[in-house]
Symmetry: C2
Subunit: 233 residues, 2 copies
Amino acid sequence: MAHKCFDLGCSMHNGKGCVSTVPIFNHLTQDQMDEIQKLIVTKTFKKGETIYDANTKSDALYVISRGRVRIDRITEDGKSQLIRLLNPGDFTGELSLFNDSIHDSFASAMMNTNICMIKREDLQDLLNRYPQISLKIMSELSKRLSKSEEQSTRLATQKVETRLALYLVESLESEQSTKIIHLGMSKKDLASYLGTSPETISRKLFEFEEAGYIKQISNQEIELLNIDELLMI
Amino acid sequence: MAHKCFDLGCSMHNGKGCVSTVPIFNHLTQDQMDEIQKLIVTKTFKKGETIYDANTKSDALYVISRGRVRIDRITEDGKSQLIRLLNPGDFTGELSLFNDSIHDSFASAMMNTNICMIKREDLQDLLNRYPQISLKIMSELSKRLSKSEEQSTRLATQKVETRLALYLVESLESEQSTKIIHLGMSKKDLASYLGTSPETISRKLFEFEEAGYIKQISNQEIELLNIDELLMI
DNA sequence: TTAAAAACTTGATGTACATCAAGGAAAATA
DNA sequence: TATTTTCCTTGATGTACATCAAGTTTTTAA
C-alpha cells in the first residue's frame, strides 16, 4: 500500500533519493539500488505544471517521489477526463516506454512534486539484468488494468449514485480506524473522474447526507456514517 | 497486428504448436521456442464453455491459439459487461498470475477454441531467463491499459452515437481495402461492450443507414459508406 | 488583507437513453 | 427439416442526468 501524501508538509524524500522508497525498486539489494540511483534524474514541478503532454514522445519512466500528479485524457472532440491520481511510489509513462508510441494522456502536478526519471535505454538495460523489476512492473500494470476495466464496467452499468457511493467507501480503505475520507481533489475533478457533472455530485452528496449516510465536514472531507447502506445503493 | 480468426475454417494450428505464432514468444530462437513448447499444455474448449471464472485462483497464462474468447466482468449487483474479445495470439490471466489475486472477470469460448496454458512457476522461470518475454508482455499490458482507459473516457464523456461510430470506424482498420466490417459478435454483445442497450444500437444503426453513412448487409456485417461523416458524429 | 478567481450550490428545464412490450427474423438444436 | 430459442426491431413511456443560470462560498493570488 503506497504511503499517501496529501499535503506539502508530507515528504518521502530522504538522503538515498527515491529508489529505496518505490515498490518497483525497493526489493533490490542496496548495491543495486545505489546503481539505479545514479541513473535517475530528479525533476521538480510546481503546482499546475505539465509533466508530459499527449502526443509527445518522451522516452522515460516517471516515478513520483514526493507530491501528487494527475493524469487526464482528452477525447477527439476536446472533452477531458481525469483518469488517475499518482501518489509517491506510483509510476507512469509506460505506454511510450514499451511501445514506440506517443503519450495518449497528459500528466500535471497537483502540488509541488518531485519526480524521478529514468531514460528508456537505461531502464531497458536494468530490466535485462534484473528481471525482478519487470515482474513488479507487470504486477502493477495488471492491477491498474484491472482497476481501469472495473471503472469501465461501472461507467457502463451503474448509476452515478452507485459509482459515487462505491468511490467513497473505497477511499476509506486506505485510511484505517477513522471514518473520515479526504477526497484530495475538488468535486469538479471527482465529477470528471466519475463521469458526471459537478452539479450532480453536489446533489447526490446532499441526498446521502439527508439520508444520514455521510456528513460533509469540509469541501474535501467527508465522514462516512453508514457504510453498509452506502454499499446497498 | 494479430491475425484475425473469425470462423471455424480458419486455423493457426501447425506442427510446432502455438509458441511460434504468438507475439510474446515468436521473437525467440527456435531452440528457445521448442523449450517453451514443452511447458505448454493445450486445452480445447467448445463453444460456450467457461475457461476461467471470477473468484477462482487459477495460476496460469492463457494464450489463444485458435478460436475466439470473450472476457466479461460482473458488478457487485450482478450486471455484466463484455470488456474484451481475444483472438489468436492474445493472452489473458495476467492478474492472478502476477498478483496472488483472484480473477476479477470470466473468460469463455465464443467458438471452438484451442488455448495454450503455461503454469505460473514455469512462466516465472522463463521470465527470469528470457527478459525479452517480459518486455513483450509489458508492451501488451500497457497497450491494453491505454485502450481500457480510452474506453473509460468515452463512456464518461461521449454519447452512445459517438461511441458506436468510433467503434465502427476502428473495426475497419484491421481489415484493409474492403469497407465491410464483421462485428464478430451479436448486437446484444456490442451493446454490452459499448455500455448501452441492444435497442439503442438497433436505432442508432438505423439512423446511420438513413443518413447514408452505412449499409447493414447482414446482422453482423456492415458496410461503411461515409467514414468522414461517421467520425464527425 | 483585500481583490479576483475558482469552486460549490440550488433551481428550472430539456433530452438522451433505458426500460417495457410484443411481433418478426435469424440461429441453434434436435 | 422442423421446432425451439435467441436475437433483433420498432413503438410507447419514463427517468436519470446534463445543461444553463445565478447566487454564494471558498480558495488563490496580489
